[in-house]
């Protein structure tokens, strides 16, 4: 079966409401004609506006409202059309949501799902393009996931909504919304905990640990180097920032000795830092070369398209990293993917919303 990322989310939202009569969905724009890029369309009409509703522009209080909803025995799904707006909810998320179970000695639980979108391209600019997983993943008590495929969405959202008793923040990349995926995908290859990291592509020449849309980029890079240099790159979808499979990461690095971390955000104090910490503290000897970090340029995202293309890493950056590691030198002399090759494969967001 083929399903787009958007369709998978909408299906998960609908099932979340139909399977569980205690589920509520709310956020800015949830009930309008665009329905959060199509993921909440018609749900208010079907399940009623007591359960699916719009909110005032008041993220702080709505985040706290979610705590109360959860305490009252209901399951809130709070949606933000940009994860940048989560910054307005940080007091509730960090000082309350994350701590509600542990601070009160286990007396309460506040299961909930917060969905937030990572914007990119067509001039998103500095406040509509951030990817704040590392800010949230740093806090004990929060579970942060970044589903990278339709299958991942279906499997993880079903688990989180119906079984998992902890608060979860899911960052969904806007670029993935239009992608079509074979369902089930690689996430189903490994049974067990739907929060676990999993292998997307087996290989031996290098390991790429990737998150979100970078899993797609990593796959494109892997296909390119296979075709051009017959290299087999192993790709692991980190999937859960807070509950990764450390043993899976180490097993792969021990096998390849060469590690690239491909993140959707900045390099310092981010996903790369965390993966590097895991490897450095548990088995630094497994590395044959320094770790490569693939991340956004260390600046605020510019709105101009001309600058934006230098801000984000692309497939050529990943291929370059693989070649540098494999051939052991910066000037490896191999041809990198061209602009036209990359544009052919890259489904760019046509904007503006």
């Amino acid at each position: 079966m083929e399903l787009t990322y958007r369709e998978a989310i909408r299906q998960s939202m609908k099932e979340g409401l139909s399977k569980n009569p205690k589920t509520l969905i709310y956020g800015l724009g949830v009930t309008d004609h665009t329905g959060i890029f199509g993921t909440t369309l018609e749900l208010a009409q079907e399940f009623g506006n007591e359960r699916v509703f719009n909110t005032p522009i008041a993220e702080d209080s709505m985040a706290g409202f979610g705590v109360g909803i959860s305490l009252g025995g209901y399951y809130p799904i709070h949606i933000h059309i940009r994860n940048d707006f989560l910054l307005l909810t940080m007091n509730q998320l960090i000082n309350s949501v994350a701590k509600y179970k542990s601070m009160y000695g286990g007396l309460f639980e506040v299961p909930m799902l917060i969905r937030a979108v990572i914007g990119r391209s067509w001039g998103q600019g500095g406040q509509h393009s951030q990817s704040i997983q590392s800010l949230l993943a740093h806090i004990p008590g929060l579970t942060v996931i970044m589903p990278s495929s339709a299958g991942s969405v279906l499997r993880t959202y079903d688990y989180v909504i119906n079984q998992y008793r902890a608060p979860v923040i899911s960052l969904e990349h806007r670029i993935l919304y239009d992608y079509s995926f074979k369902v089930p995908g690689h996430e189903a290859d490994v049974p067990g905990n739907p929060l676990d990291s999993f292998v997307v592509r087996k290989g031996k020449h290098a390991t790429i640990i990737a998150v979100s849309v970078m899993v797609q980029e990593a796959q494109r890079a892997a296909e390119y180097v296979k075709e051009h240099e017959n290299l087999d790159v192993e790709i692991i979808d980190l999937h859960s920032m807070t509950h990764p499979r450390e043993d899976l990461i180490l097993e792969s690095v021990r096998k390849t000795g060469k590690l690239i971390v491909a993140d959707t955000s900045w390099e310092s104090f981010g996903v790369c830092s965390e993966v590097a910490r895991i490897v450095a503290t548990r088995d630094p000897g497994a590395l044959e070369a320094p770790i490569t970090s693939i991340s956004m340029a260390k600046t605020t995202c510019p709105t101009s398209k001309a600058l934006e293309k230098f801000f984000y890493p692309n497939t050529a950056d990943l291929v370059n990293a693989i070649y540098r590691l494999h051939f052991g030198k910066e000037n490896h002399g191999r041809e990198l993917p061209s602009e036209s090759w990359m544009n052919k494969n890259y489904k760019e967001f046509k904007g503006p919303f």
Binding site: A58, F65, G68, I69, Y74, S102, M103, G105, G141
Partner: protein, 230 residues
């Protein structure tokens, strides 16, 4: 409660909450927050859930005068009014935010602000009048139950001790000890001799027992540290 203040394993939150995060789920008191105003939206969520359940309950958010300065308070007044939430915003006004006086902090009157959100406002000028407070509050709760409209109840009161601790701080100069005199005169612990005579003994016994329990209880062990975290 005392065991919790002592940080003991037998405390209501296994010693992990302490004085700033007390709760009492058995009487419907959810977790309290040290960050001012953080619990106010929680009350709205609980109220919304109770509306869906049609259980007729009222949810009360208790916070101080300083909490009305926080943005989240304004957001909550808006939401409660918009969604007809059965919430009582109970504001205890002791005129202080640690050592900052009310006039240094607020440009508005809470009454006018409440009315801006089309919410009803009631003031109790003598927060030390136990019977008066009970009667007025009961009446407001009943009205909220009937109408499912939120309400604000501001209770004027006084903080005779320091922000945290067991002493008075009049000697520090930021406030005048003269203002305490009229409150002291209304303090039921001094006024209501017949109540004190009747209840002092049993209350002291209850406190004594709770303190004994706390003192004799064990501290939590290291194994407790990583429990209750996902």
């Amino acid at each position: 409660m005392f065991a919790e203040l002592y940080g003991k394993q037998t405390g209501v939150c296994k010693g992990k909450a302490g004085s700033m995060h007390l709760c009492a789920p058995q009487v419907g008191m959810f977790g309290s927050s040290a960050v001012v105003g953080t619990i106010i939206p929680h009350a709205l969520g609980v109220a919304y859930a109770s509306k869906l359940k049609r259980d007729g309950s009222v949810t009360t958010s208790v916070s101080g005068d300083g909490s009305t300065e926080e943005g989240v308070f304004h957001e909550c007044m808006n939401l409660a009014s918009l969604k007809d939430l059965p919430v009582l915003f109970l504001i205890e006004n002791n005129g202080l935010a640690i050592h900052a006086l009310l006039k240094e902090r607020q440009s508005y009157s809470l009454k006018d602000l409440t009315h801006a959100f089309r919410i009803s406002y009631t003031e109790i000028e003598n927060g030390y009048d136990i019977e008066g407070v009970l009667e007025t509050t009961s009446g407001i709760l009943e009205k909220i139950r009937k109408t499912s409209r939120p309400a604000v109840l501001e209770i004027q009161t006084y903080r005779s001790f320091e922000h945290v601790g067991v002493r008075t701080d009049f000697h520090t100069g930021y406030r005048n000890s003269d203002e305490y005199a009229p409150w002291k005169e209304r303090d039921p612990l001094f006024l209501k001799e017949e109540w004190v005579e009747k209840f002092k003994g049993p209350i002291q016994a209850e406190i004594y027992e709770a303190v004994q329990f706390a003192e004799q209880s064990p501290f939590p062990t290291q194994a407790e540290l990583l429990k209750d975290v996902y």
